[in-house]
Amino acid sequence: MSTAARAARAAGRGLVANYSVFVALVAYELISRSGLVSPRLIPSLVVIAEQLWRYTLNGDLPYHAGISLYRAFAGFLLAAVVGVAFGAAMARSRWVEALFEPIFSFGYPIPKISLYPIFIFVFGLGTGSKVALVFLECLYPIAIHAAAGMRATDRVLIWAAENMGASRTQLFFRVMVPAALPTLFTGLRIALPVALIVTLLTEIIGESRGLGYFITFASASFEYARAMAAFVIVAVIGFALDRGVVALRRRIVFWQKDTPPIA
């Protein structure tokens, strides 16, 4: 069988396996063209693709996407550093645990985004308040999972390391962090999409830059095709981040089996 034929068969199999995606797209296009709804409200995929092409080429979408990504990652990385430090301290010291553990476990189910209007007053409407809220929202899952992972470190491993004369830093980086890695990774995996969601939501609430703003502004100008083009970028970013985390997980905690996103 020639390469072309093989590629065609593989493509055909992919088409059959994912037939529902195409059914959904075709259904959407039919609704858009049926004349029953305003084509402005539910624009054709062709129009959305045109807008996507235009605003990607003129640099608008990449610019706003870059700003949203910068905010999401700044808050996420800050939360990762502080969260792992807090988690480690709570796992190592009973007093730190007794002092701070309730704050994390009681604060977890509280929707922290409701503090955003206050954050605007404290950090301003721009990047500061967004990064701060992303940090706060991401801190909880990361700290809780870091603490749980390190607390579960096998005592024998710690004793062995201490016996062999490991320093405190060595003990931390060589024993506790690797032992906690699978659980810690679960926390990071929960936090990353949260970072993106919080960034977009706060940009929808109020801002003049970022993808959330772009979508809001386009909708407010009744340019729904343009808003959807921006949403396509949001979707691609979300999808790529998820794939990236899964790939990273396979590399870093390769000894763990893949788990579903909610376990």
Binding site: A17, N18, Y19, S20, V21, A24, L41, I42, R94, W95, A98, L99, F100, E101, P102, I103, F106, Y108, P109, I110, P111, I113, S114, L115, P117, I118, F121, V122, P193, L196, I197, L200, L201, I204, I205, L211, G212, I215, T216, A218, S219, A220, F222, Y224, A227, M228, F231, V234, A235, G238, F239, L241, D242, R243, P260, P261, I262, A263
Partner: protein, 255 residues
Amino acid sequence: MARPPRWTGAIVPLLLLALWELSARRGAAPEYLPAPSVILAQMGAMLASGELLLHAAVSVYRALSAFAIGALCGAAVGLAAGTLGAVERFYEPIISLTYPVPKVAALPIVFAWFGLGDISKIVIITISVFYPVYIAAFFGAKATSRVHIWAARNMGAGGWQIFRRIVMPSALPQLFNGLRVGLALSFIVMFVAELIAAQRGLGYLIAFAEEQTRFDIMYVAIATIGIIGFGADRLLLAVRRRALKGQLLATAEAR
């Protein structure tokens, strides 16, 4: 080393509160930090006038009705996809493609489609709740032990019986994890949707207070959202403990 007593956990929050109260009273705190006693008094006044309860009721109605719809759909479709091959082949490609997409970014578009009223808020919350519940139900049903199903089939159980007696109970713990994630999401999305466009509800109350720069009212609304979110989560955990009675025996929670 002695184990610190349980009340140690209250030290840090109480210290912060005391510091906040003192500095606000002496006028040292910035304008956006009114004294906790002032906030508490305002909360009492708004509770007495019924205003707070009205806004809270509207918010809870929106969040919980949408949560119920999203959770029911998510659980039904997820369990069906986890047990029936045809359903899985239809839904899995769509869901695994759209699951990592932050769907809340479509909020302005949903407002354009369904108007600024309750429907658009319920639609967007329903979508947000559907995904985690679906994923949990799907993987929960998928993880059912084959041996249990074979044994039941051997003993003459029908398809429905196997579903009710074996697949459902074994998917339930994971399903509750999905419900918990969905519940938290429903309050977040509810708040943002109300902040952007509403005439009533706690999110609206915050937007209103912001316009009037009444920070005390803002904190009342924030605290109420926090209390409701926390209470709903505890309620779900209590239901879970009842529903999973006997299944949690070996876990830390049962102790």
